[in-house]
Point group: C2
Chain length 310, copies 2
């Protein structure tokens, strides 16, 4: 299966129906995960705030965790050492635990498990990992999943605009910096990681309105600004934030490449925004002669870490 | 008062004794703030996890907020529109509210207020804004504040190493990328914002171990990597994470400039780490002929936003 085949599977993952139960005593939620699995918690936390969602992206377990905490460990492989370590400590603290994984150590540890299909890159299994969260917490009605499916199918069928953006980045050897307007702050980070892993280039992300309190000062006076490619993810709905973009451009002489996300529901728009980034980074990998599936450097790092421990 | 005078005041801010009361019914904490005021919540959340701390860096107010939420709005000016908007909605939801501010609209809104001295840049008032959080939540014993004072005084007395690092960045016209090992993840972001506001250059931040799941792939194969200056904030205490740095260097051919943070308590080390970045960014501003106090672009943006609303 080549990478574009993996991308086409994203929409079908939205039909995944496995759920876990959330006790009504739950006072807070912790989601632990790294990289392509960790992004799932970040996206979920931007869509759902009926309970406090706390994210862990290292070996730690927060002090407040107790029996009223729903502790969700997400690792596609099931063997991510940070996430396994964090979950083990959460179990000792009496948390109500669940793992979302395709196998590995996480399968045997928690109270509940959602087992997802093997054989994909973790970052291509975003739908399998996100859908159980959304459905278990009733964070989106069924028709929004259908709308999201249709939005992804449209992008699968035509990604010529994504190819054009990839070409602009490629021809200038630009470093992308992606800024998300809410609810696309986590999506901006997803794009950054997809540029890293798929296209093998450095990339950075941030968000509006936060950028207006720091980066803006640099955008005016910095060296090297022509070497960056500034992207803003917008949808025309959050004008208190979006009007900041035009003003920022006017006073800093920077242009943001606006990506306008279409769709009725937040879920459909967020999934579409994810997928636009998937295709841009895929096309850029292709243009650069890089294999988007290749994560050999990360694999080598894991092996050396393992060797260092033994 | 010039900027280095402001920096020297940071240590004295640790003696600030104003507190607010935290009811024992408190189930969760929200801290809303932007930019130089927002970083305070980020640093606090990395030092304190006895309650779930949820950060807001836009106009929003999370859905879970209710009477058991301690809602803390931090804005040095007291007029930050995102924070004022977020606080107003939290009050409607019945949250227990407090403002940490030197004046403005925030003075009149919440149930409790901590009034801090006027006349500084918000980013130079970090101690005034952080200390009430730490003391009100009993997050650090008194002797740690004393140790932090001494650590800051040592840096005030000698910042030649900071000047050397600034010179390396300046001579290569490098873009700094700062990676924090826990508990320096928020500090890495603080450095990024100080490079932006003080030195007027682009800068980005991230953290170990998360970087090993995405950036690492790019560090090996990217274009332009010689244009960046990679920094790792470490303290020799978190070897599960720190051994990753050497391995990452070995397999990607990147060098991280390690900044070793000294100190017994986490508070003293975090404050020292903040201050090292303060001086690096100050020296870099000086070398570039930029005024570190100048935030005219951000001020202009606020005025244009105000005009657009009227």
């Amino acid at each position: 299966m080549d990478f574009v085949d993996e991308l086409r599977l994203l929409k079908d993952q939205l039909a995944f129906e496995h759920k876990f139960s959330v006790p009504k005593e739950t006072k807070n939620v912790v989601i632990a995960g790294m990289g392509g699995s960790g992004i799932v918690g970040k996206i979920f936390a931007e869509l759902y705030s009926a309970l406090p969602v706390y994210l862990v992206d290292d070996y730690s377990t927060p002090g407040f965790v107790n029996k009223n905490t729903m502790y969700i460990a997400i690792s596609y492989s099931g063997n991510t050492e940070e996430t396994v370590t964090s979950l083990a400590a959460a179990m000792k603290k009496g948390a109500n635990t669940v793992a979302i994984t395709s196998g590995g150590k996480l399968l045997d540890m928690p109270h509940q498990r959602v087992v997802i299909p093997k054989g994909l890159q973790p970052r291509s299994a975003l739908g399998y990992m996100l859908t159980p969260l959304l459905k278990s917490f009733n964070a989106a009605p069924r028709h929004e999943f259908q709308e999201a499916y249709a939005a992804l199918a449209r992008i699968d069928a035509n990604h010529s605009e994504e190819e054009r953006i990839a070409r602009e980045i490629h021809e200038g050897e630009k470093i992308p910096v992606i800024y998300g307007v809410p609810p696309y702050k986590a999506v901006a980070y997803r794009w950054k990681t997809q540029f890293n892993e798929n296209s093998k280039i450095l990339a950075y992300s941030g968000s509006f309105p936060e950028i207006n309190h720091n980066d803006t000062m640099a955008l005016k006076g910095t060296y090297r600004k022509g070497e960056f490619y500034f992207i803003a993810l917008v949808d025309g709905r959050n004008m208190a934030v979006e009007r900041r973009i035009g003003i920022t451009e006017a006073i800093t002489d920077i242009k943001f490449r606006r990506i306008k996300i279409e769709g009725q529901s937040a879920l459909a728009r967020v999934m579409a925004a994810v997928h636009i980034g998937d295709y841009i980074t895929y096309h850029l990998a292709r243009m650069r002669g890089k294999d988007p599936l290749d994560v050999s450097v990360i694999e080598e790092l894991k092996e050396r870490l393992q060797a260092a421990r033994e």
